[in-house]
């Protein structure tokens, strides 16, 4: 009886709820250890706050709207900087990847700048753009740009030659080769680049906000330090980590599933 087979399989929402539970379980375990350890060892709140204190700080900052304000400011910056970075990096990476000579020549350069990307640029960015929005956007752009360019370049140069030949022998011109073969062919690497770049950007953002602004999650951490408010610092750290996990799980993973995993270009992680 076919419906028996269906009944044996858990429904879709339950399966995804199960997956989410598996994902959250280790994080909850960490919170549990924290909740036990702080009172057990009588840790000074100036050294490390209790779970309740952080929960209280969360309620307070949600109620007065400051948490949302900081999150909003940080997300806007990271979103804008990443967008500018990706939009400029992908065409450049493809243009460079088309020519093997150019890509071989530029690879060391882009590896060099990929390592430097993000935080190391904060001092000079504040000299160029002053303290504020411009410097932070530059740092994020920078974190994304070099990594995405390098990965796009790598992606284009590793597209199997028969695919390019096939397109040419089916009548594809330069533009069609670009949009129909090079861009989708480089997509697995572009996605990897964006993922790595966003990671750099998120860290770079927090660092830049500690120095160059008066709103945002990094600023929230840094100011709390001046008042010994460890519960706000830890709250900020949790929010920073949680937002990254959400971006990854809700944005990047579904994007990969519907494209490069479906096409069999990468194996499901």
């Amino acid at each position: 009886m076919p419906h028996d087979i269906d009944a044996a399989r858990p429904p879709r929402w339950l399966a995804s709820a199960g997956g989410a539970a598996m994902f959250v379980a280790p994080l909850l375990a960490l919170v549990l250890i924290w909740a036990i350890a702080v009172p057990l060892f009588g840790i000074n709140p100036r050294v490390f706050p209790s779970v309740a204190a952080v929960g209280g700080a969360a309620m307070e900052s949600i109620r007065d709207g400051t948490l949302i304000e900081h999150i909003g400011a940080s997300l806007l910056r990271v979103g804008l900087g990443t967008l500018i970075g990706v939009v400029t990096a992908v065409p450049l990476g493809i243009a460079m990847g088309v020519s093997p000579a150019v890509s071989t020549f530029l690879t060391p350069l882009f590896r060099f700048f990929s390592v430097l990307a993000g935080i190391a640029w904060i001092p000079i960015a504040t000299l160029w753009f002053g303290y504020g929005f411009g410097a932070i956007i530059f740092v994020i752009f920078n974190a994304v740009f070099f990594v995405v360019t390098y990965n796009t370049l790598l992606g284009v140069s590793t597209i199997p030659m028969p695919l390019r030949n096939a397109a040419a022998s089916l009548g594809a011109g330069r533009w069609a080769l670009l949009t129909e073969v090079l861009l989708p062919g480089a997509l697995p690497n572009i996605v990897t680049g964006i993922r790595t770049g966003l990671g750099f950007a998120w860290r770079g953002l927090i660092a830049a906000e500690m120095i160059a602004t008066n709103v945002g999650l990094g600023y929230m951490l840094f100011v709390a330090r001046d008042f010994y408010r460890t519960e706000v610092i830890i709250l900020g750290m949790i929010v920073i980590g949680a937002i990254w996990l959400l971006i990854d799980r809700l944005l990047l993973v579904p994007l990969e599933r519907s494209t490069i995993e479906r096409w069999g270009m990468v194996r499901r992680a």
Binding site: N165, A166, A168, S169, G171, V181, G185, G264, M265
Partner: protein, 252 residues
């Protein structure tokens, strides 16, 4: 009417490992009539794939001429369709869009190129796979898509580079039979590169035996069509021709 003509074709290239120039194709002349089916067979390193890549326009030739309908070829072009050993299907396109790619490049509107693609998929018995992605298909099915993708673009010459070398033996026989059937229906001009002697004889009207970058001999295959393995495997003419080609290839 002759479609394709190779005149004293030559290819030399610099081998960075040997540190010297190597001649892959010495002096090859060949004529292929419109609607003909020619197999090119030879041991590995005889230059057969190099010749195909030059005719396809993927690599330049060092000497001689490649004429298509009397005109010198220049780079790859849609009048020379290619079927690759590695299939070379676009992983990010469905089977339907892979087959419709050539018409798309010609500017055929979406509805019309879908109709064309469906027609050619039906020819290869692949209608059910239209909305699949290539990685969801077996090797044999992928290469069927590769063949009809090239055909759907109505090339004047179909260049096939050991297309069945990477599928299993049973599937290979089926694909060979299907290819001869499709050839009889559509009469494309085909150049088929292979190292498999039986395959070369089974498929072609003429077998060109290549050795060390030169044409050793050309053998007419006057076997009746349609060709089916169950019949030909016992056929005296087929056996004799295969043996003849085999001796040539082995002594080459």
């Amino acid at each position: 009417m002759k479609t394709l003509e190779l005149r004293n074709l030559k290819k030399t290239y610099f081998d960075p490992y040997a540190g010297s120039h190597v001649t892959a194709v010495h002096d090859v002349s060949l004529e292929v009539q419109q609607g003909d089916f020619v197999s090119v067979v030879g041991p590995s390193g005889c230059g057969k794939t190099t010749i195909l890549n030059m005719v396809a326009g993927f690599i330049p030739h060092s000497g001689g001429e490649i004429l298509l309908n009397g005109k010198a070829i220049n780079g790859p072009g849609p009048e020379r369709g290619v079927v690759f050993q590695s299939f070379a299907l676009f992983p990010w396109k469905t089977v339907l869009d892979n087959v419709g790619f050539g018409p798309k490049m010609r500017g055929v509107p979406k509805a019309e190129r879908d109709r064309i693609a469906h027609e050619y998929l039906a020819l290869a018995g692949l209608s059910h796979a239209a909305s699949r992605y290539p990685n969801e298909l077996s090797g044999g099915m992928q290469q069927r898509v590769g063949v009809v993708r090239a055909l759907a673009n109505h090339p004047e010459v179909l260049l096939m580079d050991e297309p069945f070398a990477s599928v299993d033996a049973q599937t290979r026989m089926t694909l060979q039979e299907e290819l001869t059937r499709i050839w009889q229906e559509r009469r494309p001009t085909v150049i088929f590169i292979t190292h498999d002697v039986a395959e070369a004889v089974f498929l072609a009207n003429r077998v060109v035996v290549l050795s060390k970058g030169r044409v050793l001999d050309q053998i007419e295959v006057a076997l009746p069509r349609p060709r089916v393995w169950d019949d030909l495997i016992e056929d005296e003419t087929f056996k004799r021709l295969s043996a003849q080609v085999l001796h040539m290839v082995r002594s080459a």
